[in-house]
Amino acid sequence: MGRKLLLDKANVPNIRLYDVYRREGGYRSVEKALKSMSPDQVTEEVKKSGLRGRGGAGFPTGMKWSFLAKPEGVPRYLVVNADESEPGTFKDRYLMEFIPHLLIEGMITSSYALGSNRSYIYIRGEYAWIVDILEQAINEARQNGWLGKNILGTGYDLEIYVQRGAGAYICGEETALLESLEGKRGNPRIKPPFPAVKGLWDCPTVVNNVETIAAVVPIINEGGEEYAKIGVGKSTGTKLISACGNINKPGVYEIDMTISVEEFIYSDEYCGGIPNGRKLKACIPGGSSVPILPANLLLTTAKGEKRMMNYESLADGGFATGSMMGSGGFIVLDDAQCVVKHTYTLARFYRHESCGQCSPCREGTGWMEKILLKIENGQGKMSDIDLLWDIQRKIEGNTICPLGDAAAWPVAAAIRHFRDEFEWHVNNPEECLRRNYGLMHYADPIHFPATA
């Protein structure tokens, strides 16, 4: 059983309440940071921990913090990205709903490091009831002297506010989030300038994911070097995985990144296997944007090694034979599922969520949705598959923000690995309406020719 740093207290009754959270050792990181460390020392610990952004991109958090510009007399902001909207991802919701004080504690410590006196949580609008939970936690923290003026008598001031979005996936992109927080449409900004220089209201800003900020708590409590000992290689610490789809035990799991994908899917400690005697057909291991893999490539890399649940191993083989850790949204498809239909629902999602600024994404996502629906309904032509490939190539890399890439990758990977399932739809226009393609060869061992 792996180490748990974030969810180890999740099952303590009433951990949502301040008194219980504090009794269980909560807010120690704030005491330690504010009383015995300088802001730069806190940043240094986060750097040493090797913590990588948990929102999806995996950028080193300490490095992001060190980019923050610090001009005299200009306020700086920490904004927590709680706009969790990537299909398959529901880990931040779990954390905020059940252990809200962990986020608040992480925010106080992080805000101190960054010199922010006013920090925001930008939460997706649909998580309306969680706003109440967070505001209650903030009030409790303020009543107990962890927020407000002169915290712990150190002279440091901080207020935390919760801002609700209103239904827009794009606001998970940090510059779109800042636009939205300024009361505008969520259109991503052109970078540079980066938020670290010109962010919220043109002031230096750090935007971090909920889980990233929560991880600062154990990093400060135990020290960056101790944190870095957990995990493997550049995948340090623990990661929350939200598992869903066709598995026996969907839910949020904290892993220490040393277990294999196979163990994660089949062990009773985690997903508990595939229900109804079905077989594993495919999986999207890191949220809908990352490449889907057939069962064989999911469990074993192209080198023939066991694939592990960490940043490097999930990405092993690049996009040709690998995928990504992404946001940790782990979507499992059994052999009764249709990859074409699943890809269609994702394409529809991205069309719906495109902000419309860049033509390749605005137009391309709509085209991909329509063509995928045609193929799914048995009205596709063979040339449509090539057309889909062509469109996704023309979206990728040609947009202001990564939503274009995020829309292109799932379509590209579905065709790359499941092309014969697409062709079967085209060749069997009536049969494909009655039944699905099934498992076929997708779980068969792969023999790669040895390279000289």
Binding site: R93, Y120, G165, G183, R185
Partner: protein, 158 residues
Amino acid sequence: MQEVKRIISFYPEGKQKSAVIPVLHLAQQEFGGWLSTDTMDYVASLLSLKPIEVYEVATFYSMYNLKPVGKYMFEVCQTGPCMLNGSDDIVKYIYDKLGIKPGETTTDGLFTLKTVECLGACGYAPMMQMGKHYREHLTKEKVDAIVEECRNNVAIKN
């Protein structure tokens, strides 16, 4: 009004434009579940904004209803993970039961069906949002119970 003032206090002075999204949520809740032009103009006046600054926001975000909706809105998620767990059947069952397709409202004005994209409840699929809360692990029986619950609530209030 107190709530509007509380929201405006979240931002530095002169940045009350940031309040437009939360205040629109409030307005939609207070004015019948949707945003009319009059309502949006009112929000603009509260925040000292030009009406267009409110319209452009209201039309961008999918949670704002720009047309009247039923008293209860069933927002059924239909994205990948929910689809894998049978969200299509839930949408169809609601149609069979209430006679409304996505985007339609029952003639008695009680129910609106809307299909939405991923709401972050993938592990508890299929699901829908109704008002402030999620209804998860949906089955036909659960849909029956929710419809019953809504009708009872209305009967009690009358």
